[in-house]
Symmetry: C2
Amino acid sequence: MPSRPDADDPRLGDLSEGEILRAILARTSRATHALIGPGDDAAVIAAPSGSVVATTDTLVHGPDFRLAWSTGHDLGWKAAAVNLADVAAMGARPTALLVALAVPRDLRLSFVEQLADGFREACAALAPGCAVVGGDLTVSDVLTVAVTALGDLEDRAPVTRSGALVGDTVAVAGELGHAAQGLQLLFTRFRDGETPVAVDPAALGEGDRAALVAQLRPSPPIGLGPVAAVAGASAMMDVSDGLALDARRMAAASGVTIDLASSALGGDPRLALAGGEDHALLATFPRSALPPGFRRIGEVRERTEDDLLLDGEPVDISGWDPYRDWDSASG
Amino acid sequence: MPSRPDADDPRLGDLSEGEILRAILARTSRATHALIGPGDDAAVIAAPSGSVVATTDTLVHGPDFRLAWSTGHDLGWKAAAVNLADVAAMGARPTALLVALAVPRDLRLSFVEQLADGFREACAALAPGCAVVGGDLTVSDVLTVAVTALGDLEDRAPVTRSGALVGDTVAVAGELGHAAQGLQLLFTRFRDGETPVAVDPAALGEGDRAALVAQLRPSPPIGLGPVAAVAGASAMMDVSDGLALDARRMAAASGVTIDLASSALGGDPRLALAGGEDHALLATFPRSALPPGFRRIGEVRERTEDDLLLDGEPVDISGWDPYRDWDSASG
């Protein structure tokens, strides 16, 4: 992204809250369902089904992203995508985002403008009609992006994670393990000791570039959430912490055992099972109800002492989180 | 609040996310409107009017609160109250809160439990039936509490800040200047140099104690938001940045001038005009429509070059924010 000379790109600490908000709002598109958008005490969003789906997820500099690796655009896109995925996982269509930004004073205005662009473009690409309808801006030493996403069920029942039935097909829509592969790349190729260094996409082959995009700017299959609900999904959730951990959660919530087929998990089943942050949709369907976009990866079985089986055998993989013990917030 | 011995009160960094969430959720009450509460990808909240009011506001350690001054209970209460006030200011009844917590690893579990208690008790006291329906927990070096509040309009039109009409009565419900007085007390009496020190309520007289409570644990008149809407309020907003600044905003949005009467602003009109954070409700009503709980403080006049007049004269007071230039995050 071409960057402006610093003289034209003030630090946020030198601007008023009003000036920063105006710059952000100029880049926000209108949400189809917004009855009252930004600028008042609160937004008002249509909820035609008579209920609203609501979820919140936060990205914190350090544990969740690094400025050396993510542009403002990447960050806005990802913050939108991960929240949209939680709405989609209920079978709902996203209608609106609220964005609470806590920003360091020395951050440049252009970064926040790129962030707003990332939100707008992620909504346009992944959930057309959804947009930022409100937000909040505060100062913090740690860049923090807390997003709330709202959605409408379009008169369908919500699809929870607790409805999987014995005999159901286990299926997934979206990538598995790509985001983790991208993060591995960042940790191994774009660090100087403990310090993250800027990514040079030209140094990467096509597969690595795709993995990096999956990590920094994921595109979960948001539109397939409502499709799954219409097709009669019995349970659904988004895969944020790795297929193994999230499938265990679904099995426990539903009182069943989930048996996955390693042959359906791509060239590296271990990566698919352990790698988080793809925000694929994991769902169970009555046999023969599998809608387009979902692929079969296993079957729901009677509850045994194991929540999760792989090819009928117990499996010892849990979630994967290389950030967990990495405390330094530099970069 | 009695504190546990440290051995029984682990640091958050020594617990799993699941353990912390369970401790918080055990202290959450059920929202009347929650169709699906915490534990799935998203909550589902009834929106009987076919629309939902939504707002977000964040409290960041340093700019917005200090741990030396606020208990976990205070912080949860205040984070709930300031968001509930924004919902009430649209004329809506709050239905649900979502809480995104970013917590330092060395914080104690008891602090987060107190925070959950503060949320629950603020909802019970200020907006019965509303409760925390979802949230997110991340790690950050800076304690950050980002809250989204949802509300229902009960089939009324939203009351915006842009509907004030010439001839309307300007009125307010709730305190003006008390929270600012409390903050002044903290800055003058409970600091050692630049470092905040713990508050000793026993050292304070009754008036000072009340001001401190207004700052640390405010009780805005949430229930009067719907009352104002029913009574026909033409405009409404919550007074978060001081009456002068917020009345100017309402006047500008409505294309009118607001003329306040100093005699209606208590013993220290300057404090009432400049002091923020009370989250009183500022509203305009057709003459003779003033509902119980609101008191007349002025009148809406034809637009002049001044947004705001005091006793018919221009007034030079703007908002008041002693935190603004106080960068140190210690304490």
